[in-house]
Amino acid sequence: MQEEMWRAGVSLPFRGRMSNINGKVYAMNAITPMKPWKTWILRCIFFLLGHIKPLQKDLIDLSFIEFARWVIVPRKGFPFLGNSQVREDLKYDYLLFFSNFNGTWNQYIDAFSAVLSKGLNLVWRWSEKFPGSVPVTLFKEYIARVQFDTDYYFTAYPHATANDIKSAHIVQSSLDHLELVAEQCGPQQFADAYLGFVLEVQSHLGEAGEAPVAG
């Protein structure tokens, strides 16, 4: 129960309100160890993913992710600034994952597992003890183990999801176009253009607002 409340961002007396959630966005942090020789394989996979856009289709189709990143930290790559700091002495490289997504933790992991299972396996199979993204129960246990909490989380638009943002830009673009037309044509021509505008934006007018409250 406490775990569920914790994941959902509900205030707990011993910790205060957690900050994995801000408005409609959830900040996930995860870190997994990898044997150094395996990280080169993963770098190649990310290189291909970055340069062959069709490979990103499933990630784009998961339209509730606003931003996500993977960062490989080599075992000798942790920032070292001298002074009083002791240099790290690690056997593993580490894969850091940061995601900003809409919805709940369970929905996110479920969708990831259902839609992106091959892609996830390709990315995390090089990490120690990764059980595979299917079946989802073991996958969730693994993510819960390697996740750590956010201390402070800011978003410039807490009430908007990734889809709200995409829709808002479509509306803005259509409006800018109609504005140009409005200045240059007669009433009947404008009415026709306005009808076209309404048809274009009608499915993008859902208003942003507060997220449903968990709990």
Binding site: N29, G82, K91, T155, A208
Partner: protein
């Protein structure tokens, strides 16, 4: 460049936190205490400074042991992670932070090893870059719009819905006249503040969301 996706920059910084047995409370706890009291709304430092879409600060206590047969190992330092999704190039963004919120930066990063302070601009930028990690793969759902553009678009989206609803059945001449007035009025509106709650409405929520 993996740190950049379109016009959005993915900044990842790991700053080692000072490990001082004599400090009470410890430096990592002092950072956490400070962050716990910071606003996440329009008064947030990242709302006051330009160019932040989303940002997080995390104290990473240690790496995570995933169990046998993996080896158990530990970090020698705790790290402050700063993860930001921001507009433009890195130098301009860091300058913007140092110009707008130097006190907040100092209050947070003074607990980190070697932090020179935001007042010394060149040293500050050099420090942040020394702590930066290159992103290996970076995904942005919308990668060609700035923060002001997105705030403006969200404001427009809401206003357009109201305009359409209130002008159903209007004759062509009225519609054109009203639309031109509406578009001019919308342009004259101040930009919503980053981190603000946006338009309010009554939401009926039903039960658990988990």
């Amino acid at each position: 460049m993996p740190n950049q996706n379109g016009s959005v920059y993915g900044l990842t910084i790991l700053s080692p936190i000072i490990d001082d047995e004599k400090a009470t409370p410890s430096h990592d706890l002092q950072i956490r205490n400070y962050l716990a009291k910071l606003s996440t709304r329009e008064e947030s430092p990242f709302a006051l400074a330009p160019g932040t879409h989303l940002a997080r600060l995390v104290v990473m206590d240690d790496v995570i042991y995933v169990g046998m047969p993996a080896c158990e190992e530990h970090l020698k330092s705790k790290y402050l992670i700063f993860e930001s999704n921001c507009d433009g190039d890195l130098d301009a963004y860091l300058h913007g932070l140092a110009d707008s919120i130097p006190d907040h930066l100092d209050a947070i990063w003074k607990h980190c090893v070697g932090y020179p302070g935001a007042a010394n601009r060149l040293a500050f930028i050099g420090y942040m870059k020394a702590c930066q990690l290159d992103t290996t793969f970076y995904f942005a759902a919308v990668n060609d719009k700035s923060v002001p553009e997105t705030l403006r678009a969200l404001q427009t989206q809401s206003a357009v819905a109201e305009f359409i609803a209130s002008h159903q059945g209007a004759d062509a001449a009225t519609l054109q006249r009203e639309f031109i007035r509406f578009a001019a009025h919308l342009k004259a509106q101040p930009l919503p503040k980053a981190g603000s709650m946006g338009p309010h409405r009554d939401i009926k929520t039903g039960g658990r969301n988990e």
